[in-house]
């Protein structure tokens, strides 16, 4: 067997022991050449196919199952070679070589078969070009549908953004405009191209809020947080307006701020309403303050009536009781005398009270233009004796406000009471000095001050009661506690206020704001 194999290899390319096919058997020339030519033609064709396939493989880069093609090329080449050898056999009977070639071809053929079988399930999964086309068509349709949906939502979104009355922009992180909505272009009268790609400083270099707008944008980009603020503008295009600005950061995949959406709302109406509301509230407060004054005055009055009438009436009843029980005629006469005194007091009190009632009722009393100086001089003449005996020095400065529209009897009464008071409560340690002065502030409130160097009043103790009826703070024989009460009621009835500053043994300043509650 070993020898046989050695022999076989040695004689592989020789025809020893065999006869050429021409001479083996009865070959007619036609038959022989038909056989030879057909074999050569088959070989030529089998030899060409690999080149065609190879060039196909080269051109189709991503061809699936490339390995199969290689095995198929080998299979075809070897098949061709067996046919060539079969043709050569007519002259050179290389049966040994042919056997080797056939074996090789058989092996390659079976490998090819196995590989083919193995790959068939996979190959079956491969889509045909028609199938692929169908898939492509379907996907194209889906894509178109998605596209139209996207367009639709974009239209909605644009309509939403553009029809929004707020001014909406998208700003890049380089502070340039990326988008502006129609409200903004309508308001400014500029095309979007006027804005896009430029910074606010380039677009609106003179706008008073541009630096703030850019500053806030930087803040949003740095802090990555939403920012809100309000501005008040007096730009000629929009007039006097209030705007609320909101800046919302949009992030990229690295969580850095990529864009900033800015929404500027016109809150002028709301703000103006709020201001109006504040004004109304202020007016209501003023009104309620005035009502409080009225209520206080009424309560005081009820209290005063009760107290000032009950006292003397109670005394009269008691005196009558004592008179009835008394046997001594001298004592009886004494009681009657006292009863008369009480009756006189009662009559004065009733007069005081009716004066106050009249003041409260006469709020529409006739007013006339009065010179402060004239009124002061008149009252000084009326109090000539008192001024003379007290040696009081009365001075005045009415240059800031020389006259006022006021009821004549009220102003006269005010001056009379202030003068009387200042003289009555002057300090015995010094010559009384009484100074009157007027002032008017920017709101038009006219103020009269009366400053003296008298005994003064302990304001901490008596401040609240200073202008109440029958409250006196000094043991002066003439102190009745009526004057300031009347003065206060006159001033209040005409929408003014009265207050006092005082220091014991230094003096007192009375301050009258004639029209504070009217302004």
């Amino acid at each position: 067997m070993g020898d046989e194999l050695v022999e076989f290899v040695k004689k592989l390319f020789t025809a020893e022991g065999f006869m050429p096919r021409w001479v083996c058997g009865v070959w007619s020339s036609t038959h022989g050449w038909m056989y030879i030519c057909a074999n050569i033609a088959i070989w030529a064709a089998y030899f060409t196919i690999p080149f065609v396939l190879f060039s196909f493989i080269q051109k189709r880069k991503n061809l699936p199952f490339r390995g199969i093609f290689v095995w198929f090329i080998l299979f075809i080449i070897f098949c061709g070679v067996t046919h060539l050898v079969d043709a050569i056999m007519f002259w050179k009977p290389l049966y040994r070589l042919n056997a080797v070639l056939l074996v090789t071809t058989a092996i390659i053929s079976w490998i090819t078969v196995v590989i083919l079988i193995k790959h068939i399930p996979k190959a079956l999964q491969l889509k045909t070009s028609t199938e692929l086309q169908e898939i492509i068509n379907q996907q194209m349709q889906e894509l178109q549908l998605a596209n139209s949906k996207l367009k639709e939502s974009e239209t909605y979104f644009k309509a939403l953004v553009n029809n929004n009355p707020d001014l909406i922009t998208r700003m890049g992180k380089d502070l340039t405009y990326q988008f502006v909505n129609e409200s903004l272009t309508t308001l400014s009268g500029s095309q979007p191209s006027f804005y896009l790609g430029k910074t606010p400083a380039q677009v609106l270099p003179t706008h008073p809020h541009t630096p703030m707008f850019e500053g806030k944008l930087r803040e949003v980009i740095e802090t990555k947080k939403m920012v809100e603020y309000e501005i008040h503008t007096t730009a000629p295009t929009v007039g006097d307006g209030y705007f609320a600005v909101e800046m919302i950061p949009l992030f990229d995949e690295k969580n850095e701020v990529e864009n900033v959406i800015t929404i500027t709302k016109n809150i002028t109406e709301a703000r103006k309403n709020a201001l109006k509301l504040e004004e109304t509230i202020a007016n209501l407060n003023k009104l309620s303050k005035r009502l409080d004054y009225k209520i206080k005055t009424l309560q005081d009055f009820a209290y005063i009536v009760s107290h000032n009438l009950r006292s003397p009436v109670g005394n009269l009843v008691s005196l009558k009781g004592l008179y009835d029980k008394e046997a001594d005629t001298n004592m009886k006469e004494f009681y009657v005398e006292k009863a008369f005194t009480v009756a006189d007091q009662l009559s004065i009190t009733v007069k005081d009270l009716s004066d106050v009632v009249n003041i409260g009722q006469n709020t529409d009393i006739a007013q006339e233009w009065l010179q402060f100086k004239t009124v002061l001089v008149t009252q000084m003449n009326a109090l000539f004796a008192e001024i003379e005996s007290s040696k009081a020095v009365v001075s005045h400065n009415f240059t800031a406000c020389e006259k006022i529209q006021y009821p004549k009897i009220y102003l006269e009464s005010i001056f009379l009471n202030l003068l009387t008071n200042a003289i009555k409560y002057s300090s015995p340690k010094r010559i009384p000095q009484i100074h009157f002065e007027t002032a008017v502030n920017e709101e038009g409130i006219i103020t009269l001050t009366c400053t003296d160097n008298g005994q003064g009043i302990d304001m901490e103790k008596h401040g609240k009661k200073l202008f109440s009826l029958h409250k006196t703070f000094h043991s002066h024989p003439d102190a009745r506690g009526v004057g300031l009460f009347i003065t206060k009621n006159q001033v209040l009835a005409l929408g003014g206020t009265i207050s006092a500053k005082s220091e014991v043994d230094k003096g007192t300043t009375f301050i009258i704001n004639f029209n504070e509650m009217q302004v």
Partner: protein
Amino acid sequence: MKKIETVCVIDDDDIYQIITTKEIEETALVNNILLFSDGEKAIRYIETAIAESKKLPDIIFLDLNMPVMDGWDFLDEFLVLKPKMNKKVVLYIVSSSIDNRDIDKARSISAVTDFIIKPITKNQLASIFNTVLKQQRA
């Protein structure tokens, strides 16, 4: 029969003073009557009387509406002095005020025994004196 040693009346109304003095005398339950026409004078007296508790009044009838120092101011100073007094001093407010604010304020002050609306009668006075006498005996 034991009498109340001293009753103090603080009121600026001189006729009321005369009437009240007469009414107190008629009860025959009081030895001395102190009269003051305003709170200031009364408090000055009490200040000096603290040293000698015999001089302190047993009962004070206090008016509210008075010149110079009124009843409320008197009460303020009286409350400051009260801890220094080693004698029980009963205080009544006697006023012609029927203002509830006054009455409520007065009753909220511990030193005030009661609020009496003027005019005060002889019977009211007698009943007050008897109550105080009973307390003093106890």
